[in-house]
Amino acid sequence: MRRVVVAVVLCLFAGACGGGTGGTANSGEGTPKSGGTLTYAQESELRTLDPVASTQLVERTVFYQMYESLVTIDDKLNIKPGLATAWTTSSDGLTVTFTLRKSVKFHDGTDFDAAAAKSNFDRIASAAVSPRKSELASLASTEVKDPQTLVMHLKKPDATLLAQLVDRAGMMLSPAAVQKAGANLGLAPVGAGTGPFMFVEWKRDDHLTLKKNPSYWGKPAYLDQITYKPIVNDDARATGLKTGDFDMIRVAAGKDIAGLKADSNLTFKDVPSLAFGGIELYHGGGAFADKAKAQAVALALDRAQVLKNVFFDVGVVAHGPIPPGSWAFDASEKIYDKADAAKAKSTATGFSFTLKVTNNPDSIQEGQLIKDQLAKAGITANIQTEEFGAILTDTEGGKFEAALVGWSGRIDPDGNMYSWFHTGGGNNQGAYSNPQVDKLLEDARTTSDQAKRKQLYDQAQSLLVQDAAYVFINHPVAMQASRATLHGYVLYPDNMPRLATVWKS
């Protein structure tokens, strides 16, 4: 799990801002050939293959080949039909009616219909513990109108619902397969999905295999097989790619990027991602109950230097929670652009605080660099390294002053703002509270007018950045490095591979 934060905070980012948004499918590379196996090296091992229980980013990289959701996105983050072909929202925003795709079968041969869809939402509701619950907090109930129509009844209007349904909350599994697998669903979801690839086997810490689904309802995949391998060591992953042991990797350390780019046997792509990285501050007590101190830290930090030294200039400096790839990005937001030690000193100086850092080399490096930068403004940061899980526990209980923790990002800008900066939000361990920001975020949820929402998010962002609710440092990039023999890969800003279009020459 720490790999999520690591991946977020460390992610390699192609510097050339020309990375642009999305990579287009390689045209002019010849005709796609069927066949072949793709070996995908992941940065950590998965814990479960059940979307209802899933908490890790690496699990999603497998889900997106096996399972499908009601809706999906294109590489510009626009919501597109998935297993639902059309949907309408009632005028009061409390009812959403989905028309489901016909003639779709699960891998175990059973039909996908509204009853199957409903069973998935029921499973989330009846689960004792599931992160999906808070994602679908606005969902009151689901109703089967007819085999091709599913009706959702909401507690309140929710503009973020569709975005939530793109990911795990909307993934459709075969009720028959779920029942058959029982407690083993997380380890061996045989026949459970509808996607272009189906589950074969999973040998923990060794490999996870998917094979092509020949009866896929859409365009069949080209690859015969995908093998996932958990390779935690950054070096081993990068080296394995160079030697051809692996075909594709999604995360590499900043220091390795230059080498990967220069290798003619490899293709390197990157795209601004949805994530942000920086320092989470606790405002409910300790040093940063005083806003001036938080602002001083934000002023004293030299973000460009951190980006250069720790991330090897991969990615971009972050000025707020909304990354450049999002429609809600505000390019004018630049309060803390350059490090200003003098201004920091005049705002607040001569204090010290503990900065918790994850126990891995890049985070430690970043922490020490920050410590030295703050020292120039008379601020003392005491670095405390901890296991990622321990940091999570401490931040949960408010037992911290500052922690180097980032966020992997969500498709809808609400996902990067509400839970983090709304009073009492699920990720708002910093106990930040600003009623103005609260109102803006709440309003942004209830309207579907994107232009209006952007305005609200611009204002909210401006406020919370000024308050130094969180000290933003960088936006990681979604990247992919693969053997030059792979073609047809489209890189999405949500950092998820979609391998149905990939073929091997």
Partner: protein
């Protein structure tokens, strides 16, 4: 015997050099080992930086010298702990005998039941990864060897006539035993301490390499190798190699010294 004396001199000289450079690090290093200098990161060995710089621009030569101020004392304290606790345990067990001896020796056996490093790793994981706990863990692992050493000596002396005589006269022979034990103990003890120090440095380096010892930014040989190993594939080899060579030198010095001392002081063990 003749061949061993020059070895003792050389080994002791090597160790003295290491100890001195570490002690005098603040004067000799030339650079600050902790302050970052990001603009000069990852420079190779050269005139300005004899061992190059690390990923935060810190001078590696300084860090290696300062690392000795961490790794070497930790080893000594650990050996000291083992010697003290083990020595006393062995003394008590041997002197009291019977139930005490049985119980204490089972505890010693329990410690010996674990491969040394595994136990050290388990202890440090339990107490929390920092240098102090690494010292405790390595010390605990050293206890058995000193316990057995002292216990064997005590048992040997306990059976001697003058001890029985003292007891018969109503005196407590404990001081007598201790006084007679010490000269016989001195030789094997010196040898063992030297070899223990070698093990302790290795163990501390391994623990720090696994992230269970010194915490950043404290310069420490083991954690520097861990840190530096990820830059090998970039061709920046000096980060991992320099501290590694330092460890090798220190451990080799103690092993060499211990060997030479053993050859010189204990003719029975000569091979």
């Amino acid at each position: 015997m003749l061949r061993s004396r020059p070895r003792i001199v050389f080994a002791a000289g090597l160790l003295l050099l290491l100890a001195l450079t570490s002690l005098l690090a603040p004067l000799v290093a030339g650079h600050d080992p902790i302050t970052t200098d990001p603009d000069h990161a990852l420079l190779g060995p050269g005139p300005g930086h004899w061992f190059g710089t690390d990923e935060l621009g810190r001078d590696l030569f300084a860090r290696v010298l300062w690392g000795g101020r961490v790794s070497l004392p930790v080893a000594f304290v650990a050996v000291g702990v083992g010697l003290l606790v083990g020595g006393v345990t062995g003394l008590v067990a041997g002197y009291r005998g019977r139930a005490t001896d049985l119980l204490l020796m089972r505890v010693i056996d329990a410690i010996l039941a674990f491969p040394a490093l595994i136990l050290a790793v388990a202890i440090v994981s339990a107490l929390g990864p920092d240098l102090r706990n690494a010292m405790i863990a390595i010390g605990v692992v050293q206890v058995p060897v000193y316990a057995r050493l002292t216990r064997a000596q005590v048992l040997q002396i306990k059976g001697l006539d003058f001890v029985a005589a003292a007891r018969a006269l109503g005196a407590s022979p404990l001081r007598l035993v201790a006084r007679h034990m010490l000269p016989n103990l001195l030789n094997p003890l010196i040898v063992q301490v030297s070899l223990s120090a070698a093990f302790a440095i290795l163990a501390e380096a391994t623990l720090s390499f696994l992230g269970l010892g010194a915490q950043p930014p404290t310069p420490d040989w083991g954690s520097m190798i861990n840190d530096g190993s990820r830059f090998l594939s970039n061709g920046d080899w000096w980060l991992a190699i320099a501290p590694g060579l330092a460890i090798c030198l220190a451990v080799f010095g103690f092993n060499w010294l211990g060997d030479a001392l053993r050859d010189a002081l204990d003719p029975r063990l000569r091979g």
